[in-house]
């Protein structure tokens, strides 16, 4: 090493020390702070996947807005889907602070390069799927996002804090509608139980692979981007949800589900992670449908964006002329 290399190395080391000191002290890393390239890359991956999930997540529910069974349910569903768009925007904004552009993020989603939550590649077959998504899927998201609201990356923590404030409405409206169906006619009860049977396992997969098989997880925990492991989060979701299911007389489709007195948690059966990988890598029941819907929404909105840009350009010209 010559003198210049040596001083560059020492400068790098000092920055890394400062980065680690902040994490150790529980301080947030902010966009302008120095951060290791790997930290930046992993955050872009994680945050953009989260953002894409919010955006794609509007599609299965959006399908039911016109068919919601009452005006009340329609208003609720509209508000919820609008919230998901908002959540996507908070997260895209947060991701952009890491030096990636909005155009790039959208391009990655539309080209199929980017991944998003497995769960949105399943079809919403009956009305009961909509309450079940609110209860299970948003319930799982709350467990995850409550942890992420304490993330070490400032913009990510703030986006999740904002999301958490709105997410509890999503879960509550879902559980209320689930309870209504579960206490309804035999047909309604059958319909909602069928929805639980189809959505339960994919929901457990949302938390990702087991800790023993999750290379990203330990790195993210070391950086305090996450503070709990996939399995810890999954367990906490199962514990609270099993009780909610029993409270409204629904059965969880898992013969191995049993309360473990010793550890005070619910034991559950093996998860089919092959299915998770298949669905995440593009081969789920609705992957193609979801991406096609995204692309066509983008294309059909092009004239609106063009008109807005053109209007802004003309207004600017007018202001310049007037002065």
């Amino acid at each position: 090493m010559n003198f210049n290399e040596k001083s560059a190395f020492m400068e790098e080391q000092a920055r890394l020390d400062e980065f680690n000191r902040k994490l150790e002290a529980g301080e947030k890393i902010e966009p302008k702070d120095w951060m290791p390239e790997r930290f930046r890359k992993q955050l872009i991956r994680m945050m953009s996947q989260h953002a894409h999930s919010e955006i794609v997540g509007m599609l299965p529910e959006g399908n039911w807005i016109t068919r919601a069974p009452s005006l009340r349910r329609k208003l609720i569903l509209l508000a919820k889907v609008q919230d998901e768009a908002g959540h996507g925007l908070y997260l895209y904004s947060g991701t952009e602070t890491l030096g990636v552009s909005r155009e790039q993020l959208i391009e990655d989603l539309h080209s199929g390069r980017a991944k998003y939550a497995n769960i949105f590649n399943y079809p919403t077959l009956t009305w009961a799927d909509i309450p079940i998504i609110g209860w299970l899927v948003d319930g799982a998201a709350i467990v995850n996002q409550t942890m992420l609201a304490k993330s070490s990356y400032g913009p990510y923590a703030r986006a999740n804090l904002r999301i958490c404030k709105e997410e509890s409405f999503h879960k509550k409206q879902g559980y209320e509608a689930v309870a209504l169906l579960a206490n309804g006619t035999p047909e309604q009860k059958k319909m909602v139980q069928d929805a639980v049977d189809r959505w339960w396992w994919p929901t457990l997969m949302m938390f990702g692979p087991h800790d023993s098989n999750s290379p990203n997880s330990s790195e993210l925990i070391n950086w305090k981007v996450k503070t709990k492991t996939n399995d810890e989060l999954r367990q906490s979701f199962v514990d609270r949800t099993v009780e909610e299911a029993h409270a409204v007389g629904l059965t969880i489709p898992d013969p191995d589900l049993k309360f473990n007195e010793e550890i005070g948690h619910w034991d559950f059966g093996p998860i089919d992670f092959d299915e998770l990988y298949r669905v995440v890598n593009g081969d789920g029941p609705c992957n193609k449908e979801r991406l096609d819907a995204r692309r066509s929404a983008w294309d059909n909105g092009a004239w609106v964006r063009d008109a807005a840009s053109e209007y802004a350009r003309k207004q600017k010209l007018r202001t310049i002329k007037a002065s």
Partner: protein, 98 residues
């Protein structure tokens, strides 16, 4: 698929929770002009009456201090403990009363 050319500038959004409170940074968004920035800010950052007033500012117009400057930039304040009330001693009788 239409080309992705959303080069709309970033606007930082500040919201005031209630009259008399300060405007606080809420987040940001992309918009082609000030009017749409304001309308989008309402839809993105105040869907539940979180704001009674909103400011939007083009992000490029915000000037900020840098993390590297943090020490030297703020240290003129470090050695001026006499700017704090704790610096001053008050007779015990008076202290008790307050």
């Amino acid at each position: 698929m239409s080309e992705i050319t959303n080069d709309w500038p970033v606007w930082e959004v500040f919201t005031q929770k209630k009259s008399g409170a300060p405007h606080e940074h809420a987040g940001n968004l992309h918009a082609p002009d000030a009017e749409m920035a304001l309308q989008n800010a309402r839809d993105v950052y105040s869907r539940r009456n979180e704001a009674v007033s909103i400011w939007v500012v083009p992000a490029e117009h915000i000037v900020s201090s840098t993390p590297e400057d943090m020490g030297p930039f703020f240290d003129p304040a470090n050695d001026k403990i006499y700017r704090h009330p704790q610096f001053y001693s008050v007779p015990k009788v008076v202290k008790k009363r307050s």
